[in-house]
């Protein structure tokens, strides 16, 4: 790196000066924020200096800036571009989906086998629970991706459909005693109907206005759930929601014939969780497969065309109101499925689970993953939901920030940071490329694009 222009020693001096200046700025910024802490003692509020922490922060800034100056910023545009990267990225977007699906299918089997044979002491129950949460978000985000990514309708109230699905399932199951598999389609239908009911008056609006009204509708749903005590039991929520069964075989030890007794194996609470994992994995894969298929059908093309130019769509004879409504209803239906899964997994739901922050998280996953990209959504769910959960267990940061540092408290801060970083580096999301829905072949008929866009 030193061969171009100035030598290393020549660059060292200005780099040191700049790093020193940055450190000074950092010192000024941090001296009150990090350097002093108020402690409540017997004498009253006293100040406790924390010089070590302050020194660490300033040190990080100094060393970081120095390294950036010396090695990173200096690496200029003359460097040959890594040629393999582009190919790697293309391969990732082509086969990444398949690899992810295989990994997701094998994950419980491999984890269980490892645990059984090697006794590693893996927190299996926790791992499965976390994967179920991640997959629920994959499914929710895939549903929202239809509305926001394909049809270009900014929906800030997606959680309303999630709530409608969850409550429809819970009410049907607890009042009529219907099982999961019977209520699941009904819950999806209810959410889709709600999507249509909201959509009809709302879809005349565009852009920001649409976003605000959908946000308001989501709040209306939540407040109705909170106050309509006769039906929804208000803030106390609904409990005693049944677990899903495998062709009528329950996974709980209650009852005569259970999953374990039917197959003659020992009862293990993990069986039910692994089953739930596969249920949500199947649901998520169905959502993705249907979305992929819809993209290549006229309705999917109309959605994308509407995102590009609504007026041109109308001039080509496309009924944009119906097209928008179909996008809204389809997205809502998948939200409803996810909601009923959520209800059956938790066994208890209350309006608290359906706040705006959920909508924001799902939207963040879609935007960070790349609008319209299935693989991007899956990756973003893993990173955002799984990654922040992992943060809760990171011990390394405690060494620097003291033993009472709880990384989980900084989740939202890091969430924002991740957003900013991704928007700077990849403003159109992790996966920003778009696969055409149909390709013209040289001769003969055109085949629908069979390049995978998972």
């Amino acid at each position: 790196m030193a061969e171009r222009g100035q030598s290393f020693s020549h660059r060292l001096k200005p780099a040191l000066v700049n790093a020193g200046l940055s450190a000074l700025v950092a010192l000024a910024l941090f001296c009150l924020v990090l350097g002093i802490r108020t402690v409540d003692t017997v004498q009253g509020l006293t100040l406790k200096p924390r010089p070590l922490l302050l020194a660490t922060a300033v040190g990080i800034v100094f060393v970081g800036r120095l390294l950036l100056e010396l090695f990173w910023w200096h690496r200029s545009w003359h460097l040959p571009k890594p040629t393999g990267l582009k190919g790697l990225r293309a391969a990732a977007s082509q086969y990444g989906g398949v690899v992810l699906i295989i990994a997701a299918v094998l994950f419980p089997i491999v984890a269980l086998a490892l645990e059984k044979s090697l006794h590693l002491g893996l927190p299996l129950r926790y791992l499965f629970d976390l994967s179920i949460v991640v997959l629920t978000y994959v499914m929710l985000a895939s549903g929202l991706n239809i509305v926001v990514g394909l049809a270009g309708l900014l929906d800030l109230g997606y959680v309303a459909f999630y709530a409608v699905g969850a409550y429809s399932f819970a009410l049907l199951a607890t009042n009529f005693g219907w099982g999961f598999w019977m209520c699941l389609p009904l819950a999806g239908l209810a959410a889709a109907l709600w999507g249509c009911a909201v959509g009809l008056p709302v879809l005349r609006l565009r852009g920001d206005y649409l976003a605000i009204v959908t946000l308001a509708f989501a709040e209306i749903v939540r407040i109705v759930l909170l106050n309509w005590t006769d039906v929804t039991n208000g803030p106390n929520g609904i409990s005693g929601i049944p677990d899903p069964t495998l062709f009528g075989l329950p996974f709980t030890p209650r009852g005569d014939v259970t999953f374990s007794s039917f197959f003659g194996i020992k009862y293990d609470p993990l069986q039910g969780i692994v089953f739930l994992y596969y249920v949500i994995l199947t649901l998520a894969l169905i959502t993705m497969a249907v979305t992929l298929r819809l993209r290549r059908l006229p309705v999917g093309r109309a959605w994308e065309a509407m995102r590009e130019d609504e007026i041109a769509c109308r001039s080509l004879g496309i009924n944009t109101t119906l097209t928008k409504l179909s996008a809204f209803a389809t997205g809502a239906m998948f939200g409803g499925f996810a909601g009923s899964f959520f209800a059956t997994r938790q066994g208890f739901i209350s309006p608290e689970s359906f706040t705006f922050i959920e909508s924001a998280t799902i939207l963040a996953i879609v935007v960070l993953g790349g609008l319209g990209s299935q693989l991007g959504v899956a990756l973003a769910s893993i990173v955002l939901i799984g990654g922040f959960e992992a943060l809760r267990h990171t011990q390394g940061l405690k060494v620097i920030f003291g033993p009472d540092f709880d990384p989980a408290l900084y989740r939202m801060l890091l969430f924002g940071l991740a957003m900013v970083v991704i928007m700077l580096w990849r403003p159109r999301g992790i996966i920003s490329s778009r696969t055409p829905s149909i390709l013209l072949e040289a001769e003969g008929g055109a085949a629908p694009a069979n390049q995978r866009r998972a």
Binding site: V299, R301, S315, P436
Partner: protein, 281 residues
């Protein structure tokens, strides 16, 4: 009786469009013949695009009647239809002054979206095709055949899988015409198709419009500022000025109409002779 009045595909009667106190189009009436290229010309701000937007349903006219007659004799009153029905049912297609392509989608996809109505019906409104029943595959194959034909005619076959936004300007103009033609219209409305084209591209456009009229027997209504295009290819010219119709006739008739010359020179009619000789007309 002029030739276009015998069998008009489009009949505009007493069309008036007011925006608040401004009368953009004032009592305009004309016919467009079934196999004619009809040009709508006039100085800037004459109300040409407003007439277009009324015909294609983007504006609802304040007064007047717009009748479209199909070869079978069925009539559509365009002022009563929604904009998407005007394309889907009355079969009027249009292009835009500022090109409106689906820029993020490929050229072929643009042409497939144009055939949405047919394809959507063939796919059983999505449900059939999702379950794998119905003749969606065959319909899609037919749609690609039609798209391929228009790609060939507009010289875009090699760009079929390119993203539309990446095409050069002239190609985008032609693609917009191809897209409009893929809706299988009876009347094609072109809003300044030659704007921004160079002489060679403009020549190619003339050829394309001619073949559309000759081979397909489709009526064309166009707004154009490029008089070389207008005078060469139009069978019938309607001239607007300040929202009023000032001339209606063949290209030759209109060219020699003193009122048209006055409007284009921007002088009162009685001074046309004087100003005309000054500028060498």
């Amino acid at each position: 009786m002029s030739s276009w009045q015998k069998d008009p595909v489009l009949k505009v009667e007493h069309l008036t469009m007011r925006f608040g106190g401004l009368t953009a189009v004032d009592d305009v009436s004309f016919e467009a013949g079934r196999h004619d290229i009809t040009a709508l010309i006039g100085p800037n701000g004459a109300g040409k695009t407003t007439v277009f937007n009324c015909i294609t349903g983007f504006y609802k006219p304040t007064q007047g009647m717009i009748t479209l007659t199909h070869p079978g004799g069925s009539r559509f009153y365009l002022e009563r239809l929604d904009d998407h029905e005007i394309n889907a049912r009355a079969r009027v297609a249009r292009t835009f002054q500022n090109i409106r392509l689906f820029k993020g989608m490929t050229v072929l996809e643009n042409l497939m979206v144009a055939q949405h109505d047919t394809l959507s019906r063939a796919s059983g409104f999505t449900f059939g095709a999702l379950l794998g029943v119905g003749g969606y595959r065959a319909a899609q194959r037919d749609a690609v055949v039609l798209a391929r034909e228009w790609l060939a005619r507009t010289g875009l076959t090699s760009r079929a899988n390119t993203v539309a936004g990446a095409l050069p300007y002239g190609d985008q103009r032609r693609l917009e015409i191809a897209r409009a033609m893929c809706t299988r219209p009876l009347l094609l409305c072109l809003d300044e198709p030659a704007a921004g084209l160079n002489a060679r591209e403009s020549e190619g456009l003339n050829e394309l419009l001619y073949t559309i009229r000759e081979k397909e027997g489709i009526a064309i209504l166009l707004i154009e500022h490029d008089m070389s295009v207008v005078m060469r290819i139009s069978d019938h010219v309607v001239v607007l000025d300040y929202g009023k119709e000032i001339a209606d006739g063949t290209a030759e008739e209109v060219r020699n109409d003193p009122r048209v010359i006055a409007a284009y020179l921007g002088v009162p009619e009685k001074e046309v002779g004087k100003v005309g000789s000054e500028v060498g007309l």
